[in-house]
Symmetry: C2
Subunit: 195 residues, 2 copies
């Protein structure tokens, strides 16, 4: 009596591999054939678990949204201070980067946004909104507590921070693997209280 079907684990393996391929080559850069070959099965096996590529994309984004919510609600995270939670948020992107070989979900999807299925566009927008909302509230609370310093609206600063992380992880692939860490250090310096 499982919550989700995972008898042989193929479904999970497909998702893991698809996620890596998506973040390495973009939505139009990977095929069911690539996944099938890497897993040693036929492409029809992938269609059995995810009838269309759209289903697979939506499943990946929905899982990432669930993960983000779980992370946010986790006791270990909630017990950290403002800087601790911010560093935890940065570490998500550092993990995404994997040494400058991959980008984050939204960065991988946005560049081909124009011909993405509507459901994937919607899931992307929802994930983006959830990240912006969380970080905005976090920056707001941290500034009120004196942990952060910045001008303007928390929502604007949150957009800047997430945009910078997304852009930096992409730049890291252009022969500049240290770029993400550099930008994170700069973001932290810019948020430092004045004295």
């Amino acid at each position: 009596m499982h919550a989700t079907k995972a008898a042989t684990g193929t479904r999970l393996k497909i998702m893991e591999l698809a996620q890596d391929l998506l973040r390495e080559r973009g939505y139009n850069g990977f095929s069911y054939g690539h996944i099938a070959e890497a897993l040693g099965v036929k492409n029809a096996a992938i269609h059995y678990h995810f009838p269309s590529k759209e289903d697979l994309g939506v499943a990946l984004l929905a899982r990432e949204r669930r993960r983000l919510q779980k992370w946010i609600e986790r006791k270990q995270i909630r017990e950290l201070d403002s800087w601790g939670r911010l560093n935890w948020f940065f570490s998500i992107y550092q993990h995404y980067s994997e040494g400058g070989t991959r980008v984050c979900f939204l960065g991988a999807l946005e560049s081909s946004f124009g011909d993405l299925p509507a459901s994937i566009q919607q899931e992307s927008a929802a994930l983006n909104r959830e990240m912006l909302d969380w970080l905005g509230a976090e920056l707001d609370a941290g500034r009120q507590a004196g942990a952060f310093h910045f001008a303007g609206e928390p929502a604007s600063k949150a957009a800047l921070v997430i945009g910078a992380l997304q852009g930096a992880i992409q730049m890291s692939r252009l022969g500049r693997p240290q770029q993400l860490d550099t930008v994170i250090a700069q973001l932290k310096a810019d948020l430092q209280p004045l004295n």
Copy 2:
């Protein structure tokens, strides 16, 4: 006796259209067929001007690099003050965005970077380097002149700014067309001298 062949202008039209498609749908999201159909010619006509898709991509990036250099060297730009040049740089991205429908060149290419031809990867890296170098020097000079205020290395701040612009232009497509302007306003607020 022309510098470049442009008798009927088809070559130029191809580049304009390819640039729009690239920035709307990514490198793997547009085909010679799309360009040919929109121009009312056959796909072989595109191959006549650009034998391979790689040639077309390289031509687009090389042109963008030339444009950036010309812009930088232009007298009108050189005569502006630090904030004037920075605003001019921001306006490039605002123009790129076209109301939240498209992203910048590097953003469009980086998400499928893994399976891009080597020559396109190199041109992308060169364009990125040139932008970072210019903005880094600009921020350095502006801070020394007292026009800007920021902590840390100019190169790091330049990476943050360009990353934020690249990320924000992508976020603008996720149902948040105002996101680029919001981030630009925040970047400017963060660079403001303290008193």
